[in-house]
Structure formats: structure tokens, C-alpha cells
């Protein structure tokens, strides 16, 4: 076994079409199987999902409480000119666009698994296309509305 440490890896590497790291000695079990090809969008969806999840966790409770409960019920009434100045500030506009888009991606990604696993709608491609397609459309509408607020 110890007499041929270099010849075995090279002979294995030539027999395989892709250069995969060859594990030494344990030739029966492939410890590093070639990775399954994934659709290239998946890392970006996952990035949007986790970024959106973090933004939702940190910002949505306070935003929902202020603007969806406290202000409509008259508990708090922010000065409109100040609120308008804050919201139409270019920095706020850019941050809101990024925030809203990743929140939509996050929501669509979860909705996909809610429909697929929760309601057991076992049409993976259709559910995925509807959720992510809907997310793209919703993102475009959100960006347009936010930009219209600024100009």
C-alpha cells in the first residue's frame, strides 16, 4: 500500500472526466462526489431571502407598529413636513428600494415553500415560477411607486 502513493491518484484522475479531488486510499467510497448542478439563480434567491429575513426581523415590527397601527389609530401623529422630508430623502429612497425588493424576495421564497410543503401543491416548477415571477412584478411596481414618491 505504501509503495505506490503517487501512481494511484494519477491513474484515477485520468479515468474520470472531471478533475475531482481524489481521496487517498479509500477508493471504494467516493468521499467527494461531483456536486449536483444547481440553477444559477439559487444563491441570489437565498441571499435575498436571508437579507430580507433580517430586514423584516429588525425593521418590520417598528414600522408596522408605527405606520399600520399607531398613526392610523391616532395614538401618534408625526409632523407631515418632517415625515415627507425623511421619506423623500434620496438616501431613504435608495434604502427603501433595496429593503422592499429583498423583503419581496424573502416573502416569495417562503410563500413557495408554504404552498409546496404546507398546502402540498406538488407542482414545483409552477409554484416556483408563480412565486418568483410574482416577486419580480411586485418589485418593479414597488420600485416605480417609491421613485414616484421621490420625483
Amino acid at each position: 500500500m505504501t509503495s505506490q502513493p503517487t501512481s494511484r491518484p494519477t491513474s484515477q484522475a485520468t479515468s474520470q472526466p472531471t478533475p475531482v479531488r481524489v481521496p487517498p486510499r479509500t477508493s471504494q467510497v467516493d468521499l467527494h462526489p461531483p456536486r449536483r448542478r444547481r440553477p444559477p439563480a439559487e444563491p441570489f434567491v437565498w441571499l435575498g431571502f436571508s437579507a430580507g429575513g433580517m430586514i423584516a426581523a429588525l425593521l418590520l415590527p417598528v414600522a408596522a407598529f408605527l405606520f399600520a397601527i399607531a398613526v392610523p389609530l391616532g395614538w401618534l401623529s408625526p409632523d407631515f413636513d418632517h415625515l415627507s422630508a425623511v421619506i423623500t430623502n434620496p438616501v431613504t429612497i435608495i434604502l427603501m428600494i433595496i429593503g422592499f425588493v429583498v423583503l419581496i424576495i424573502h416573502s416569495a421564497h417562503r410563500l413557495r415553500y408554504l404552498l409546496y410543503d404546507g398546502l402540498k401543491i406538488k407542482h414545483k416548477m409552477l409554484v416556483g415560477a408563480l412565486c418568483y415571477g410574482g416577486a419580480v412584478v411586485a418589485s418593479i411596481i414597488a420600485v416605480i411607486l417609491v421613485l414616484m414618491a421621490a420625483f
Binding site: 415590527p61 408596522a64 422592499f100 416573502s107 410543503d117 404546507g118
Partner: protein, 134 residues
């Protein structure tokens, strides 16, 4: 309900009921957590329209808040707020499992990450309130 797949041979899988998530509290919590996505989408839509209304001036902002003060919108928004809070709690519980943080080669305990997230939540909330009201 759906016909079992017979085209390719594979091991038998017992069909799972659509109501599988009512069988255990943890399953229910999982589905409620995933359900938060619908209310997060609602809150995004609500906030986007509010931003749009603010951009159009004081009158449309006031009209929007009058609409937002109607009973059914308030009820939806209170439910949405509760789901947003559920998302926050479950998300903070999950992050130490998804993200292994290391400082000088030592793993940061999960408890510390969660505490840090709640500190961040407090800071962000205070900042938003300061931004809107001061």
C-alpha cells in the same frame, strides 16, 4: 387526493395529509412562521402605498391614513404586526444555526448571537422612532 406516481418505480411513501401541520405544536409553529410571508408581503404593499401617498402630498397622506384607520384594515394590520413579531422571534432563534460566528477561532455561543440581535432590534427601532418623530 393526487394520484400516486406510478411511472417510475420507487419505494412506497405513505401519503401525507394536507393537514399534517395540525398534528404537532412544532409543525403548527413551522407553518405559522412560513405563513408570516403573506403578512410581510401585505406590510410591504401597505408601506409602499404609504410612501407613495406621502410623496403626493399632505392630503393624500391624510386620505391614506383615514383608510388605514378603518376597522378591517386595523384588524389586518394588528394580525400582520403579530406575524411580523413572530417572524422576528423565530428568525433570531434560527440565525445562530444558519450562521456560525467565530471570534479568534472560538465559536460565539448561540445565546450571545441572539442577545446581539435583540440589541440590534432595539437600536433600529429607536432609530426609526427618532427619525420619524424628532
Amino acid at each position: 387526493m393526487s394520484a400516486p406516481v406510478q411511472s417510475r418505480p420507487r419505494s412506497y411513501r405513505r401519503p401525507v395529509s394536507v393537514w399534517w401541520w395540525l398534528k404537532k405544536p412544532t409543525y403548527l409553529l413551522f407553518v405559522l412562521r412560513e405563513l408570516s410571508s403573506i403578512f410581510i408581503a401585505w406590510l410591504v404593499a401597505f408601506l409602499v402605498v404609504m410612501v407613495f401617498a406621502v410623496g403626493r402630498g399632505a392630503d393624500s397622506y391624510r386620505a391614506f391614513m383615514d383608510w388605514a384607520g378603518s376597522a378591517w384594515v386595523v384588524v389586518i394590520n394588528i394580525i400582520a404586526f403579530l406575524f411580523a413579531a413572530l417572524h422576528t422571534v423565530t428568525w433570531f432563534l434560527l440565525t445562530p444555526k444558519a450562521m456560525a460566528l467565530r471570534v479568534r477561532g472560538k465559536a460565539v455561543p448561540a445565546r450571545m448571537i441572539i442577545v446581539g440581535e435583540y440589541v440590534a432590534l432595539a437600536v433600529v427601532s429607536a432609530f426609526v422612532i427618532w427619525l420619524v418623530f424628532l
